[in-house]
């Protein structure tokens, strides 16, 4: 078809991963040592089969991926960490070669895998605009004609001749995005660049991206934030372990994804390690389990009714005694938006823990969540000034469902999370 701008056929990418390798690069020494070893083996056992090296293993980051993108389409790619999203983008933007398969692309491609690629700290803002523009594929004439616009967008007129190493990180990101936003490719490939900067700036970026889409240009967009994928794209690919599991309208794919996440959660209850963001080395305490109970029934649950009080249980292993610590719990929508943050300190509860295994109860009386999947972030630290000891992120904790009230069911596809139904309406005139 003539309006297909990206056509991907049976794409595959294989990596060889070394299990014992610490460094990402090889040292000549190892190559020579391994070479000598294999020659030695061949001399000793010339008829013997070459044993497969157990230290190396094939790994298919992408396998048999095929899809098409039409002119002016905005397509999102979602999937968990390590599902092959970034690899796919890297191949699309020609940074690395596919192992198998074929891609046809019509039109000028610009890829933004990172904001501010190639910025040089020693150079001034003015110089970096030209350098970064050239790196992103703009011609010198093009940059010159858009120079004022870029400076304006970033709002850094006064610091144009200051080396960017003296910029605040906010200014740096703004300038970097300003350059990228003024690219005019026919196809734009974007990785999670929106994850940087403050909320206001992120909004600006989203706005710019929408504008790009409206102008009829093709956008391929990867993000963890299902929220921005929903607003920005019409179609979506869901990748898991290098394969496309769903490719449809965004709303349908996201539903598929959240359902699947719940399934994974059921399989991975107790597997909290999977969601650990980081743990401080020699941390005195860490989480070993998170689970929910509801008022009405005892025992662990994963489904909750609208309007139902619930209890979050946190089981911790304590290595050293801890006094007056703080625990924070984020309740998040599956799109990643935070519904609320619960701090132990808000309820004037100081966490004192003795060595051993302890379970804490956090009872939430009233939080009227709308139907949907909810995730928890859980963290523990001494105080807000110190680095957290242990942080668990995006733990798929529970799903809110609705039995009785059919009105809510029919409106379940809302972007908000909290049901506010203690409201009275009346006519005043």
């Amino acid at each position: 078809m003539s309006d297909t701008v990206i056509q991907v056929e049976n794409l595959g990418k294989k990596y060889i991963i070394g299990h014992q390798q610490q460094e990402r690069y090889t040292a000549l020494r190892d190559v020579m040592a391994n070479g000598a070893k294999s020659i030695g083996q061949r001399l000793l056992k010339p008829w013997g089969k070459q044993s497969a090296n157990p230290a190396y293993e094939e790994f298919w980051a992408l396998k048999d991926v095929s899809f098409e993108v039409k002119q002016g389409d905005r397509i999102g790619i979602i999937g968990r960490n390590g599902a092959g999203k970034s690899t796919l983008l890297k191949i699309l933007s020609r940074i690395t070669e596919p192992t198998t398969g074929k891609i046809r692309i019509k039109g000028r491609v610009a890829s933004l895998l990172e904001v501010g690629t190639g910025f040089h700290p020693e150079l001034t803002g003015r110089e970096n605009i030209f350098l970064n523009g050239a790196i992103l594929g703009m011609s010198k004439a093009e940059i010159k004609s858009k120079f004022d616009e870029i400076v304006d967008f970033a709002g850094i007129e006064r610091f144009l001749d200051t080396p960017v190493k003296r910029y605040s990180s906010g200014m740096y990101v703004r300038l970097a995005f300003a350059v990228a936003a003024h690219l005019e490719p026919e196809i734009l490939i974007v990785d999670e660049v929106l994850a940087v900067g403050d909320a206001q700036f992120q909004k600006k970026c989203l706005g710019k991206m929408e504008e790009v889409g409206r102008e009829g240009r093709t956008v391929v967009f990867v993000s963890h934030k299902l929220g921005s994928v929903t607003t920005l794209t019409q179609h979506c690919l869901y990748l898991e372990e290098g394969k496309i599991l769903a490719c449809d309208e965004t709303a349908k794919v996201i539903e598929f994804y959240t359902n699947r996440n719940l399934q994974v959660q059921l399989e991975s209850i107790g597997n909290i390690k999977f969601y650990r963001k980081y743990i401080l080395s020699d941390s005195p305490v860490y989480f070993i389990n998170i689970y929910l109970e509801s008022d009405k029934q005892k025992g662990e649950i994963v489904e909750l009714q609208v309007n139902q009080a619930f209890i979050i249980f946190l089981t911790l292993e304590v290595k050293r005694e801890v006094y007056r610590a703080n625990i924070a719990i984020n309740i998040k929508k599956s799109t990643g938006d935070i519904v609320t943050t619960i701090l132990a300190w808000d309820s004037e509860y100081r966490v004192d823990l003795e060595v051993g295994i302890t379970t804490l109860e956090c009872r939430i009386e009233e939080l009227n969540l709308l139907p949907g999947l909810y995730l928890l972030d859980v963290g523990i630290n001494q105080s807000t000034q110190t680095k957290a000891w242990d942080v668990i992120v995006d733990y798929p904790a529970f799903r809110v469902i609705n039995y009785g009230n059919s009105m809510i069911i029919h409106r379940s596809n809302r972007t908000c999370a909290i049901l506010c139904n203690k409201v009275t309406w009346r006519k005043v005139s």
Binding site: Y25, L28, S93, I95, T96, K102, K106, T117, E127, A134
Partner: protein, 273 residues
């Protein structure tokens, strides 16, 4: 109608040389960046490009000319040394610049597509700018000693091209190897240091016994330096032709194989860097 781009395993070759041309502005910008950055936050700035070769020349003149009393082919010893110092500094700077260029631009390589050949090539250009600047010292020396070059100076661009080819060829090899084997980070300074003594920089290659001249020319920089001396000094300076041709052959052999090897491993750079 915009043209169609096909990405397929092992097929990027066809696009490559076209892309190299299309990305010429990036090439220009990278070289420009490196030149700008090179002497940022230094007090005397670009003067470093003059001071380093000048001081080396002074030391060599004293050690080889005054103390060892080596022959000077009838020209002032400082000019003899400097005529060789120019291509040698160019070569050695380009070599170390090139071999580190890919590593120091690792984030670019991992995040943006462009023909990777641009990176080491722009490193060579940066050294070439230094070369032009320190060329002014040679002019100064010539004025100081009232030395007038002959018509042969007109052939100098030809020898500069050879020096270019030598730097580029060896640089490409080392740059590509350095991505995979970081050992070359330690090997390169050694090559540069060692090369200064086995190349005829501080002395004239005529002091090498006749029967060893051909073997000596296996060092490609011997041909380049002899060529520079022949063009700049005029008069008594002679080129040992078989040796020069051997060096020339080696230079272009290294360049061709360098481009071949670089192209061969380039596609995996983003994965291993």
């Amino acid at each position: 109608m915009t043209q169609e781009l096909i990405i397929e395993a092992g097929r990027t070759e066809q696009q490559y040389w076209k892309d190299l041309w299309r990305y010429r502005e990036l090439f220009y910008f990278l070289a420009w960046r490196d030149i700008l950055v090179r002497y940022k936050q230094t007090i005397i700035g670009i003067a470093w490009a003059l001071i380093r070769p000048f001081l080396t020349m002074v030391v060599f003149t004293i050690v080889f000319g005054k103390l060892a009393k080596l022959p000077s082919e009838g020209v002032p010893y400082p000019i003899l040394v400097f005529a060789a110092m120019l291509p040698w500094q160019f070569f050695s700077n380009a070599l170390s610049g090139c071999s580190n260029s890919l590593i120091s631009n690792a984030n670019l390589i991992a995040k943006v597509y462009f023909p990777r050949l641009i990176v080491p090539a722009s490193a060579v250009i940066v050294s070439f700018v230094d070369f032009m600047i320190s060329g002014m010292i040679l002019l100064g020396l010539m004025a100081w000693y009232d030395f007038l070059p002959s018509w042969r100076i007109l052939t100098l661009p030809f020898f500069i091209i050879i020096a270019f080819a030598a730097s580029m060829g060896a640089g490409l090899w080392l740059a590509a190897l350095n991505v995979k084997y970081r050992d070359f980070r330690y090997i390169v300074p050694f090559i540069v240091q060692f090369g200064l003594y086995i190349s005829p920089v501080g002395f004239s290659s005529t002091i090498v016994p006749q029967e060893w001249r051909l073997v000596y020319s296996l060092n490609p920089m011997v041909g380049v330096i002899d060529g520079f001396r022949w063009a700049i000094l005029g008069g008594d300076a002679r080129i040992y032709l078989p040796g020069f041709l051997l060096s020339l052959g080696l230079v272009f052999g290294v360049l061709a194989s360098g481009v071949w090897y670089f192209r061969k491993v380039e596609r995996t750079f983003a994965d291993v860097i």
